[in-house]
């Protein structure tokens, strides 16, 4: 009988050390990524119990959340950030964990660094004390975000307990129209399935739309799985996955690589693979998408108006009204034309080289509106270096964007990059929660990097398809 397990269940079974009577599985973790925010308490728990890191070779750290993107000289001006930096340096040194810090040349957002270094590989279980760990699922791995107690558990044992989720296949077929990006695809999926629609599920993204995507685009999609409530999201490995990993520093080398590639491809869900649920979308229905509210599901196509209270289900009206009030927007108004104060290009969702290239294409020869503060923050030091080799920084700076150092920056504003007061930010990041970008009353509109660049130049939300200079 053929093996009809999907990739998720194959990888899960491979890593199941034991299953308890209560159905919890002790799962071996292939790669544990660490950063400065959710690890200090975990290392302290190890000290408390006199424990070591069980598999230091499978544990890699970098610094991203608190890193200033303008002045990176030490000690940081923010004493608390300096303490956290000191703590991760000390912890990694003491426990024998590789740390890619600011002097290293490989530092960056943990979900950019992992794939870039070839640490992220198909068939692995990957965890990190960060919800956007789902990014790594783009390679056909089980990649989940965990809390600090879990970080301590994985440090000490390289395992953790999990209940096996169900697997939903999210199918999107067809070609994306010009101006429609991976970001729009995942915003569309979340809008249709809701921010809690994925609870209890892992998402397998399948169909010709994902097949056609680059690895970086697939990472953008998987990155936001958590915003749809899913435990994780993944895409089956294919030749693009293999070619992306070939030659990366931590990927297998030489003959070993070919053997690894064959094994990776063998893990993919077969045509007859079984799923607990399936939903199907048509790429032709997806237009450039913008969030207008306070959850990532509160979005509309850029040509569409905001919803009206009376047209919404009774159970949703409280949240809808809360969002409209907070955003200072009116029901039924068009989203295009909404004025912005700040433009942010970067984050683990859209801070990779292809994102910067798309944004630069829009910005080239243009000028950021006088009323807008615009920043471009590469996802890693290597992305930054690549962009500078291509001259992208010159395009951005000539257009009036600030060109920054690598880090999480204004996605979550644990560093000096923050909104002020009620500023409205066109952002290529992943969350539009109240206060997310550092000002309790600051407002976020999520969109693709190209749309952020267009909004920066026009000073308002702009349909990229109608923006001058965009190729048809």
């Amino acid at each position: 009988m053929s093996d009809r397990r999907n990739l998720f269940n194959r990888v899960w079974d491979l890593h199941a050390v034991r299953t308890l009577d209560n159905q919890q599985t002790q799962l071996f973790i292939g790669l544990h990524l660490i950063h400065e925010v959710t690890s200090p308490q975990a290392f302290e728990m190890l000290r408390e119990r006199g424990l070591k890191v069980a598999f230091p070779s499978q544990t890699v750290a970098t610094v991203d959340h608190i890193v200033p993107t303008a002045d990176q000289s030490r000690p940081f001006q923010d004493l608390l950030a300096e303490q956290m930096m000191t703590a991760i340096e000390k912890n990694c040194d003491e426990f024998g964990v590789t740390l890619m810090d600011l002097q290293d040349g490989r530092q960056g957002i943990v979900h950019v660094v992992g794939p870039e270094q070839g640490l992220t590989q198909p068939g692995m279980t990957i965890v990190c004390g960060d919800s956007h760990t789902s990014t790594h699922g783009a390679f056909g791995s089980i990649a989940i975000g965990i809390g600090t107690s879990n970080v301590a558990q994985v440090l000490a044992t390289q395992t953790m307990f999990l209940n096996r989720p169900k697997v939903r296949r999210v199918v999107v077929n067809g070609d994306l129209a010009p101006g429609v990006y991976a970001k729009d695809v995942i915003l569309h999926i979340i809008q249709k399935l809701g921010v809690q629609g994925g609870v209890g599920y892992a998402y397998e993204y399948a169909g010709s739309t994902f097949d056609a995507m680059s690895m970086e685009e697939r990472m953008t999609v998987c990155n936001m799985s958590i915003e749809g409530g899913a435990r994780c999201g993944y895409i089956n490995p294919d030749e693009k996955t293999v070619e992306y990993l070939r030659g990366r520093p931590y990927a297998p080398q030489g003959e070993d690589f070919d053997k690894a590639a064959a094994w990776w491809l063998s893990l993919a869900s077969g045509d007859d693979a079984e799923f607990d649920d399936e939903v199907v979308f048509d790429a032709a229905d997806i237009e450039p998408t913008v969030t207008w509210g306070i959850t990532p599901a509160q979005s509309v196509g850029v040509s569409q108006p905001l919803p009206k209270l009376q047209d919404s289900p009774a159970g949703e009206q409280v949240l809808l009204k809360e969002a409209l009030d907070f955003m200072g927007l009116d029901e039924g108004q068009p989203v295009a034309g909404t004025p912005i104060d700040v433009a942010f290009i970067g984050s683990c969702t859209n801070g990779r080289i292809s994102d910067l290239r798309e944004a630069a294409r829009v910005a080239e020869g243009q000028q950021v509106a006088a009323s807008v503060k615009a920043i471009v923050v590469p996802g890693s030091q290597l992305v930054r270096e690549q962009a500078m080799q291509e001259g992208l920084h010159e395009i951005f700076e000539a257009a009036g964007f600030e060109w920054r150092g690598a880090g999480c920056s204004m996605c979550l504003a644990m560093n000096p990059d923050k909104l002020q007061g009620r500023e409205v930010c066109a952002s290529s990041s992943n969350r539009n929660f109240k206060g997310r970008q550092g000002s309790p009353t600051g407002r976020t509109l999520l969109m693709s990097p190209a749309m952020v660049a267009a909004a920066a130049i026009e000073g308002k939300v702009t349909d990229i398809r109608e923006f001058a200079g965009t190729p048809a």
């Binding site: 491979l14 959710t38 809390g147 044992t157 644990m414």
Partner: protein
């Protein structure tokens, strides 16, 4: 300033004892104190779990949907190396913008049981969120549903997180609002929550419930107990031991 701890919450005290003393937060004490503190502290018993079969205390209603962890604890308070002091910042930005926020309402001060809506704790994986609620004084959350990472984090901390229907949550919230001094009882064995005349059924996955009821929620201890199996299992993984073919 010491945080308010609920009386008799042995579990909370056990958790607090894990972390560094407050003076480590003082910039002047950093980083030398860290090493000193770690060195001087006696090794604790590795079994820190306590049986949690019921939670009883007053309630606090917050029946909103999709409350994310950025709202529970704004990111600026994640700039820390311990969880100390997070209790007073729970819902800080929401409280500042809403003068009638329940977490600022003196009637609900000292509450142990939160009545919440759908998809509570969505967003970031930050354990700082349930830590801040626990340090504020909460011992149980009754909600329509929970985001999964948040739910797992609650389990790690011994916070009871149970689901109830929307209708029942509305009844519970109304009963708490009518009499904020009323005792809310969360019974994990009967899977019921009661306040005043109201008693409603609640749900919790068996694995999470059994762990709390039996006191077996020291997951680190359990994971460590299978160390030999883990070592053996690691030898079966292609990416650690060579690929087939």
């Amino acid at each position: 300033m010491p945080e308010r701890l609920p009386d008799g919450a042995a579990v909370v005290r056990a958790q607090l004892a894990v972390y560094l003393p407050e003076d480590i937060l003082m910039p002047s004490a950093w980083p030398h104190k860290l090493a000193d503190a770690a060195w001087q502290r006696p090794k604790r018993n590795t079994n820190m779990s306590t049986e949690i079969k019921t939670v009883t205390g007053t309630g606090i209603p917050l029946l909103l949907d999709d409350i994310d962890t950025d709202r529970i604890i704004p990111a600026r308070y994640l700039r820390c190396v311990t969880f100390d002091g997070l209790g007073k910042h729970a819902f800080e930005d929401d409280r500042q913008q809403d003068p009638s926020h329940p977490f600022d309402n003196p009637s609900y001060a000292g509450a142990s049981v939160l009545i919440a809506g759908r998809n509570f704790g969505c967003g970031s994986s930050r354990e700082h969120a349930p830590q801040s609620l626990m340090r504020w004084g909460l011992k149980a959350i009754v909600a329509e549903s929970f985001a999964e990472i948040f739910f797992g984090n609650c389990g790690s901390l011994g916070i009871v997180a149970v689901r109830a229907s929307r209708e029942d949550l509305i009844r519970l919230a109304a009963a708490v609002e009518a009499d904020p001094a009323a005792q809310v009882s969360v019974d994990l064995e009967a899977l019921e929550v009661s306040v005043g005349e109201e008693t409603v059924s609640v749900e919790m996955p068996d694995s999470a419930r059994d762990a709390l009821v039996t006191g077996d929620w020291d997951y680190l201890g359990q994971l460590l107990s299978a160390a030999d199996q883990v070592t053996a299992h690691a030898r079966t993984l292609p990416y650690l031991n060579g690929y087939p073919g």
